[in-house]
């Protein structure tokens, strides 16, 4: 615990458990679970405290916290713990950064993708997507997936050396950056965060990956979704699009993708047609997630002055193969429904 922020989070995580909850663990040493520009998480026993991204909107985050705490999301989203502050579920640091408290949950073991809870993830998404937003404390903010994709492109453009810089210099390989930019330009405005999505009636997670699942209570409770920073109304296909992109780029085993998709459909998930080829529904979000992942990979590799690794290169290669999407996949205007 070196910085004031980590100290503040450690103190927040050590705050007494609310009345009625199981007795808190004896005072344990704080452990930093994550410390990135977009989020810092400190664990202390059964409780974690999170500092959210400094540029987030606290009002939208408060709305997302109220949704996560709502009984309709019980068994789907990990509910927040009250913060001992007048703000209820969140506190603000002196410089306006939002802090929240959560029960600790056990994450997915990182070493075996085959053993990850793919079906549980799919069923949780299906339940999330069939939650009636009209029953939730509103206003429900927009899902931030497309905004995150745009942010990834901004990060690529801000990488140490411009894509058109001298070849000898470290920085994004010009061909990789150009392939990502070209694939980005082929996306419809809504997928770039520049227009409302054509389908915006579904409550979405907005940033699904295997780090967004925990078992609560640890270590063997039911699987729940965590990280509500991008939660909101949008196209539910966005939540399926990262596994779809992993499969399409040849990284995720086709059998796992098939299991994931089948579990989502069997649970009544509405984001893809119930049978047959799901790609008309997935095409645009999966392209966007592929471009987002490739953009971040190229930017990170440039920042570390290293080459793209195999998985990162697969994402860039997929961008290079993209041609303009079929017309019917890029609707002209928003459709309510």
């Amino acid at each position: 615990m070196t910085t004031p922020l980590l100290g503040r989070l450690a103190a927040l995580a050590a705050a007494p458990a609310p009345p009625g909850s199981p007795a808190g663990a004896p005072d344990t040493a704080p452990e930093v679970l994550a410390d990135r520009p977009d989020g810092t998480v400190v664990r202390r026993g059964r409780t974690v405290a999170k500092a959210h991204a400094p540029d987030g909107d606290p009002h939208e985050l408060a709305a997302r916290l109220r949704i996560a705490a709502h009984p309709l999301l019980h068994g789907i989203l990990l509910p927040p713990l009250p913060v001992t502050a007048p703000d209820g579920l969140l506190a603000l640091t002196g410089d306006g950064r939002a802090l929240t408290r959560w029960p600790y949950g056990s994450p997915v073991p990182p070493d075996d993708p085959d053993a990850a809870p793919w079906e549980d993830a799919a069923r949780l998404l299906a339940r999330l997507h069939t939650t009636d937003p009209g029953q939730l404390p509103g206003p429900v903010p927009p899902m931030r997936g497309p905004a995150k994709a745009a942010r990834a492109l901004a990060r690529l453009r801000a990488a140490p050396v411009p894509a058109d810089g001298p070849r000898a210099a470290p920085g994004p390989p010009p061909a990789a950056a150009a392939a990502v930019e070209r694939a980005w330009s082929l996306l419809p405005p809504w997928a770039r965060g520049e227009a409302p999505p054509p389908r915006a009636a579904t409550l979405c997670h907005g940033d699904l990956h295997l780090g967004q699942l925990v078992r609560h209570p640890a270590p063997d409770g039911r699987w729940l979704l965590i990280d509500i920073d991008d939660l909101g109304l949008g196209d539910g296909a966005w939540d399926l699009a990262r596994p779809a992109a992993w499969f399409a780029t040849g990284l995720l085993d086709p059998g796992i993708w098939t299991r994931f998709l089948a579990a989502y459909r069997a649970a009544g998930g509405p984001a893809v047609r119930p049978a047959g080829d799901p790609w008309p529904d997935l095409e645009i979000p999966a392209r966007a997630l592929t471009v987002q992942t490739a953009a971040l990979a190229v930017a990170k590799a440039a920042g570390a002055a290293r080459r793209l690794d195999e998985a990162e290169q697969a994402m860039v290669d997929a961008c290079a193969r993209m041609v303009p999407p079929p017309r019917q996949l890029a609707p002209a205007g928003p459709v309510v429904g």
């Binding site: 977009d38 997915v108 990182p110 070493d111 993708p113 990850a116 995150k148 940033d207 990956h209 295997l210 780090g211 992993w246 499969f247 399409a248 780029t249 040849g250 990284l251 995720l252 085993d253 086709p254 059998g255 993708w257 098939t258 998709l261 080829d277 799901p278 790609w279 997935l282 095409e283 999966a286 392209r287 592929t290 992942t293 971040l296 690794d309 195999e310 998985a311 990162e312 697969a314 290669d317 997929a318 961008c319 193969r321 993209m322 041609v323």
Partner: protein, 96 residues
Amino acid sequence: MQCPKCHAPMHTYNRNGVQIEQCAGCRGIFLDYGELEALSRLESQWMQQPPPPPAPQAYPAAPAWGAPHQGHHGHHQSHHGHHGHHRSFGHMLFSS
């Protein structure tokens, strides 16, 4: 040859290598010595055949910009090699 029952002419057919005489009038069938046993043997062989192997699982639908895959040869062979050698993929699974 004439049918022993209605005396109409009989026609010879070959069924799985067994000669069968069938009456053109009453459709009755006449088997030579040993031919019934031959048919029974054929029948039991057919019954004992193992069921046809299940069709190989189709490769799931994929977009045109997707990576080339082993496709029609099935993905079982590729199950471990396909993504297993992408060691960096493990990190990608857990990051935004």
